[in-house]
Amino acid sequence: MANETTYKKSVEEAIGNPKLSRALHLFGDAYLIARENAFKGLDFQEMRTELAAIKDEVRVRRKELLAEFIKNAEAAGSKVFLARDTKEANDYVIKLAKEKGAKLIAKSKSMVSEEAHLNKALEAAGIRAAETDLGEWIVQLAGQRPSHMVMPAIHMFKEEVAQLFSKEAGKHLAPEIKALVDHARERLRKEYFNADIGLTGANFLIADTGGIGLVTNEGNARLCATLPRVHVVFAGIHKLVRNIEDAIKITRLLPRNATGQLLTSYVTWIRGGVPVDGKQKEQHIILIDGGREALYESKACQDALRCIQCGACANVCPVYQTVGGHVFGSIYISAIGIILTAFYEGLDKAKEITRACIGCRSCVAVCPSKIDLEEIILHLRNEVSKEYGIGVIKNVAFKAVMKNRSLFHNLVRAASKLQLPVTQKNRSDESGPRIIRHLPLHFMAKDYTEWRDLPAIAEKPFRDQFETIVQNVAKPLYRVGFFVGCGADFVYPEVGVSLIKVLNSFNVEVVFPKDQNCCGIPALYSGDTETGEYLAKQSVQAFTDAGVDYILCICPTCTMAVKRDFVERLADHPQWSAKAMALSNKTMDASAFLENVLGASFKLNATGPARDITYHDSCHLKRGSGVFREPRALLASSGHKVTEMKNSDRCCGFGGTYSFLSHPQISRQITKDKVETILATGVKTVATDCPGCMIMLKGAVGKADATIRCAHTMELLAESLEMKK
């Protein structure tokens, strides 16, 4: 419990210090532009597919390649030591330093040395470690740990750096960046000359040469590897590649994806004991396991070791941008940090941060090694739940209630009546659905309604309205099954009604299998796979029995669930897996169906005056299903003028239970960013294709400006069709 309290406090502290978050937002925006420019003329998808294949082969052949590396390194005069854990690695360096009578080690950047807490171990043995990477030196002087893999001191400002440098130098230094860098250049130069040992990391361990590769910008690694008499290489075993060509391919991705550089200032390839002051240098290569073998052996998580440590998953992460790397991570931060922390430090250390991922998949979209970080994090969250539980509320909600479909649905119907005292009419739309503006208890208000209105549960869910809807489709082109999803069923049934209007106008009949249940994602994202599997079976059966041509969703998370997760959840059940696969092949988002199957944008002719709208891409629609062109085409062809908001595909902060139960404070900040970008367009209608995003946007935008309307694409299309009549 103490652990959890400390974590919560650190989240609140980070949110209370908006300066860091502002800086990370500016960085994130600049990064996206720099990265796009860096990949101009190159095929990122093709490059990352190739890198993933290289890394997968290395995983399979790792024992053989490691032996080859060691043989070749030794042939070139290197001494190689295999360390089972970071303690063995530290002990080796300390023993070596003592043998040499070494008092000072000049270090260039090495994340695995952070993982090993090497500096602390050296200090305890009376050996001084001088960090020479500027960011690492700043962090060392501050007695902190890096908050970013590529830019360790990204959380600090020049005033703080000037204070640290002034204190160390014993003289006043002004907070001017150029002057501070010059000071570091002058001050650290003597460390290389005085050091007895130079220690570097390695970006590559090249099996067929026995050499290492270093990718750097400042030039300090070159000095650490050149001036001192002894060179120690500290590297994780996952840095292995087969040959120089593999390594070159990585250098084409790493700087472009890390900082938007085509190449770093220096890439240094060192094999063996090169000359030092007329003699042969002593080179020691320490290869560290430290949990990597276990990670390689984990089927569900092994892809994480494809990581080339570019830090991009942090750069684009809305949670990282909100709270920074000291909260969202341990030694390694952000999405990859969650996974590495679990394996290198233990699941208990990763317990809190596995829940801190909002599931927006922005990291998955930019990962140069094609790691499905979100999938692995969900798996770990499930492991955490098995080990430590998912909490009483979720346990009752998922296990006792949701698995029993009629109980679940009757409870929601009852809730629609019970909530009446706290609901009120929507200011912007008097006839529209009621909303919840205040909750009676103060502590709930802070997390829930102080910053957004919550939607009320609809008086009549979609499932109770369906049979009363008359569909005038004589000879339907297709019969489609509608997977409604809880958001549209109980909160926004009008979206389902709109969908039927739109589809009917294209001569498509809608079927609603009543036995369908929740897609199970809320349970699954909370780490309850058992309930997830149970719910998948219920819906798979209902839609198989319906015998329809397609299955359509108006919630992108449901689309992902039916299309991908049902198949995976039921893969080990022979009687279910074929059915799930058959449904998967027929399932798509409603916008994608309209555009890609029906070619609707060619048939929808604009009517009436153009309406200005802005479009918010739902995370799971764009990055989960690759659908973002389709809704824009549909809206444009039905007479809407789409004005793009900044970062239209950045998460709205919803994240399902994330914004209600686990991290409402972080959600609040992410939503604030989204509201700002919407307000900046000056447009009064926000379209989106996700009921989850609608809950978030209607509530928060409504609180900020009651004249702005947020609607599902299907609602806007239905309205256009009405106007046409």
């Binding site: 800086a23 960085f27 042939a75 070139a76 005069g77 500027l134 960011g135 700043i138 830019m151 360790p152 001191a153 400002f157 020049k158 960046i177 150029k178 501070l180 860098v181 570091a184 250049r185 650290l188 130069r189 003597k190 000359f193 067929d208 040469t209 026995g210 050499g211 910008n217 400042e218 030039g219 300090n220 070159r222 000095l223 050149t226 040959n243 120089i244 060509e245 070159i248 391919k249 250098t251 084409r252 900082t259 550089q261 085509l262 190449l263 770093t264 200032s265 220096y266 890439v267 240094t268 390839w269 060192i270 094999r271 063996g272 004991g273 090169v274 000359p275 030092v276 002051d277 240098k281």
Partner: protein, 186 residues
């Protein structure tokens, strides 16, 4: 290689802050260096430097060529002058086989690095370097090969790009025809 690659190389190298010039011959390059280099200048005696009499050319142009062991040249010598093995057009990178320690000292310590590149050794891109890079490693001897792309840089304070962190603050790339088209020597 092709004019196309040369143009692309010049553009890429300039974009990362290198000075790039096409110069008629080595004496003119020496004159350019003499105009820019200040203080002690490290000029490694590599096979190409010996063959082209580089030290003498520079000294004649007025460069203060350091004659003793490079480790005695102080912590921050004024300049370093080297040849290169080859270059890569897509990233504006020069490649120096730097196993000889003097090449490393002359390219890491000084304020300014002047590098002489034969345009015939410009490869179209990084992937094309896989062959010569593999060739360097054919024998099992120790090797130190450096890719250099622009001057030393950092963005570690407030993500502001700052030139001249631990390596040279200036990189001058002088393209001179007829130095050597052999990618294996510098």
């Amino acid at each position: 290689m092709t004019e196309n690659s040369i143009d692309r190389f010049i553009e890429s190298a300039k974009r990362v802050g290198a000075e790039v010039l096409r110069i008629e011959n080595l004496p003119e390059a020496a004159a350019y260096i003499a105009g820019k280099a200040q203080g002690t200048t490290l000029v490694p005696e590599t096979p190409l430097a010996v063959r082209h009499g580089l030290r003498a050319l520079l000294a004649a142009a007025g460069v203060d060529v350091f004659g003793k062991s490079f480790r005695e040249a102080g912590h921050v010598p004024g300049a370093g002058v080297t040849f290169s093995n080859f270059a890569m057009a897509d990233t504006g990178t020069v490649v120096l086989e730097s196993t000889d320690e003097n090449i490393r000292l002359a390219t890491t310590l000084p304020e300014k690095h002047f590098v002489l590149v034969d345009p015939a050794t410009i490869l179209s891109d990084n992937l094309a370097a896989a062959a010569p890079m593999t060739a360097f490693h054919r024998d099992p001897a120790p090797k130190f090969i450096a890719y250099i792309t622009g001057p030393s840089r950092t963005a570690d304070i407030e993500r502001v790009l700052t030139i001249g962190c631990h390596g040279p603050r200036e990189l001058h790339i002088l393209l001179v025809d007829g130095i050597s088209s052999d990618l294996m020597e510098n």
